[in-house]
Symmetry: D3
Subunit: 247 residues, 6 copies
């Protein structure tokens, strides 16, 4: 099985981190292809950068999905998920979507630890768009850019654990989701420190993508996720034009 | 990996059907143990039978889960799910819960085909208890006992397909969930006839249970899903007493 | 009028407390029959014990409801309510359901005081299952086993009053519901200390059960609360078999 | 016990109908005082008339509630309920509120039969204001002024039963609520014709008002339902001024 | 264009304050007519006074709306809005409704600063009645009667700004709505002190009313906002009778 | 005042139609600048094209908003709204958002007429993202490409009117919103044929944009709509880079 990890950011450090974690948690025999956007923001930290990333995701999957069995959106706003899911004939999974849905099988209320106050509303809106608002029991936001520096991830782990324990004690969270593509694989490190199950988006995303591949379902032929079909697109990348034509 | 399929009904035909389908869709090397309740109703078709089944599930998992890696509730009301999830140290997945959560990654609105008008409200309440009401776009109910007769399942397939297509056309369903433990594995047969992804609970349940085992998460140590611990239970089966004591 | 109070716990101290309170608050001429489960947990404090209690309730009402005019579930998770309501031809009322619905006529937001952090999520889920989440303005949880010791109830009253006042002052609660079967009749003691109406489940449950008896409504003949009718039940108590046969 | 039935309409035929039904369904020894507004509309059939009726209810309860033990709003939009509940030191119950809350104990989804397409949105808004939207499974509207003519009520009964059966069959209603003050007591006549419990607002309202009186709760001393206290009101009836002064 | 500002209170200080602010923020050429209720409460501070005000609004618009192009309800509970909107052939806008809807275009979660703990639930219910509960991210209540004293408004401004900043910092409010008719025009003074957009109801109400006038839409001819038509009203003001007759 | 109309499609016929309508409905003195995307789809009819359009909107506003006072998104999925609103220091309004919010002041339940079954879910999701799902009472979808052909718009008008009347009669819609940028100004033509207010997105969008300009509010300085500030963007248009740098 071959999985495509799509990083709509331009930062290859994140892509590398994600890819390394993905290779570690994927099933034996699963090949990981991780790609980085050639345009846009190093790290999406605003709605405007998210807007650029929405197109970047589409361009990336159009370019790189051939020969892959499924796609994981490796940006924790699940940037570009809906368009990619529609366009491709293979399963497409959002990393945060995957973590949230997996969490639903592990406890009652979900506690979410995210990074950056500024983008906290984007996560709320994302959860709401999945219809999962009522499953979330609490939020904690960490203000730090450390995870995006090599080695910085380990330094921030104690703070994540502290916030997670606070969610468990004060908000009654029974399962923890840690957002952030750069947190890929963090669940293995955090789990021993926490008294409830903890998930990161990439570990969940890889697992759910593999699951969907194994289920072998048909691509939708009707509805809003059916392939859009050929269009007279103007000034888009060749890959994008081709992807529509094939869809 | 060894999975326990729990049928809180007393009907072994259903257990056998479920087990056969489970063995077919499980990963290579996954062993399936399917157990049937020694008490209660042949098929749960009422709230009162569901109440008996709630305890039957608990008794079954207490008796048979040792040595297993995860449990799938093989009754489509997910009968006894919460109690079993709490009591055991291994993952427990409801078959309908698993189908619904998997469906969330495959399209927008979910269309549900269930059996028996009388129990239709139980499914609505189940969906609501998962907080997924807004994800469901339509319901169709088939009034037939045929699936519970040997060979009857194939006869009902055209009617399921008809109802599913109606959901797709009239209610805008973009993914179909077929309820009923006895429908185990039906997705493979139905998928060619439908223009959108279709899921049955057992296929989804096996897949999600395997996924949770692979994630290797910690059992909750606090909250409402932590082990209840030893209790002075009276007149319950030895296995139930033991399960609490170990939990 | 004769009312059946069903305690799905095995603890007779709770049953006696409930029965005494019920006799005090019932209308003149109302006879109270209070029964205790012969199996299960002394006090339900976990989801698994709740699962046992779900069946215990069914067994108890099957055994003891003959000749009664209505049933009150005397466990504050309303354990087994739906099954009992369906099975019997007489009204069945949950004690917490009754308190919540009564509270709706007495103010805006309801404040709930419950016992035990571990089971707090069960109350939230119960309230949600009644569709009343938006009516609840706040929760307070008291961590104490005192109420289950003879004489312990009075000792805990100041703490209940303190928590209730906190709900009123900080969360804008305009009516208070105190959960816990063992708190039966507590509203009479608490009311003088609180500046808004306060309800306990047994007092409300007795009152609403009497009300439903007086309304003289027909048992549902169709839908998910119609009698299930005879079933080929296996290894259940004789009373349960008989109750299905008569239903 | 003495109950005040408040008809914010000017039509005494409705008041008389309501009073007669109330006397029939009230407990022995309960005295019924039914009053009619001296101003406003004969029958509230618009939002503007409802606005007049909101004040009429306040004026009526200020004038007539002295010596009464509880009030029932005998207009099925529960016109003026919140203001009257706040102002008076005795319980105030809305007829539709009472029917809806009572219905919650009798089945799953409630089916509502109302009169007049034009005012149908007012009922929806009323149900939403009680937070009960999710409990309602279907609506039917009858377009007829017959009930407001002497003898007309019986003529419309078959149509009500037809609509109720349609709600049961098509929308899965498991309990029926019939709105309209003029339908007071109709549940006794309709019940034999319907296969699920049926409620009218006045029968439920009388019963719930009696229940609240028996519970003997304290009037709120704080919050938005505490007495408003004396105010410098201008050009309102003496009774209204007095009621504020006493509150 | 001529706009009618309706103050259902009897306090002319509020009316004058509102009128002055309205004249300042209205478009050039817009004439403002501000009227005060001849009956009811100086300032609505309770549900009962709100009930009186509901009728007062109707009486005021019936008396004064002739020749006007739109109406703004200048009481921040939007007292009497629905009835007035139905009765008149010109647009009617609630001041708080207008501020909330305008706020929806300016950010994510709305923070609301209101006055008086006692009436805080009325604002919550108002927001819920508009279906906008999920848009509101936080509430702050100021306990002060100062704004209703000449010159008192300026004194309270620092406290409003403090509460608004608290909403922004702690609750993530991205736009602020300040309630209270007497706060008319306050947005101009507060805006420089706050880091997000701030709205008051009168400024928004004037603007939205002018907008609706310019859109030149048809008065509803059907549905619950169509004119009620002539009615046999009893003992209402001549203006009210006339308004129904013309409607 | 100068308003920028942003068409993220490449079809200039739509831009011209929108611009013509905008000039007609804008206030005297308001200048309209309408721009078309140099890349993407002629008409967005899929989620993937919407993803491209999200970036196109950002690129267009970065290029053309200088000197403008507000922006109207002239694609009826409000494509790119959030990013543009954040990036720019002037108000940005979505055409469908504006129509929905305006509709809230004109009646109870909103009826929506849209074009194309395939994209119907996008409209539902858009309404949900605004928190307005409960305000919408019904949907009708017209399957026709006619509006995108010169002169085709008039031909489709009778069908729109028919669907709108159906919404009014069957679903109780009290105000109608017609989606589709190409329907700009259609409300003037449709209004005479319909018995309730009708809105199109461009007319509402122009009006609400003018309103926001007149309110003169401050650009958010904090929160998720504050300017993102300079970023190290790669391979985006110069205008986009510049817009971030200035923001």
């Amino acid at each position: 099985m071959k999985l495509l990890l799509v990083n709509a950011n331009t930062n290859t450090f994140v892509t590398d981190t994600v890819a390394a974690a993905a290779r570690k948690c994927a099933s034996p025999g699963t090949e990981i292809l991780a790609v980085t956007s050639p345009f846009g923001a190093p790290i999406i930290e605003s709605r405007a950068e998210h807007a650029i990333g929405t197109y970047a995701t589409l361009a990336l999957v159009a370019e790189h999905s051939e020969g892959c069995d499924a796609v994981i959106i490796a940006v924790s706003y699940d940037t570009g998920l809906a368009g990619a899911r529609e366009l491709l004939s293979i399963p497409v999974v959002g990393m945060t979507e995957a973590a949230l849905l997996t969490a639903c099988m592990l406890g009652g209320r979900i506690g979410i630890v995210s990074f950056g106050r500024r983008v906290a509303p984007l996560y709320r809106e994302l959860v709401a768009s999945y219809g999962l608002t009522d499953r979330v029991g609490g939020w904690r936001v960490i203000e730090s850019a450390a995870p995006y520096r090599p080695g910085g991830r380990d330094g921030i782990r104690p703070e994540i654990a502290t916030q997670a324990r606070d969610l468990i004690e004060k908000d009654g969270a029974e399962v923890i989701v840690v957002t952030g593509a750069v947190m890929a694989g963090m669940q293995a490190d955090l789990q021993p420190e926490l008294p409830v199950p903890v998930l990161d988006g990439i570990t969940s995303g890889i697992a759910q993508a593999e699951l969907l591949v194994r289920l072998g379902l048909k691509k939708a032929e009707t509805g809003s996720y059916a392939p859009p079909g050929p269009r007279d697109l103007v000034n888009v990348t060749d890959a994008v034009s081709r992807a529509f034509a094939q869809a």
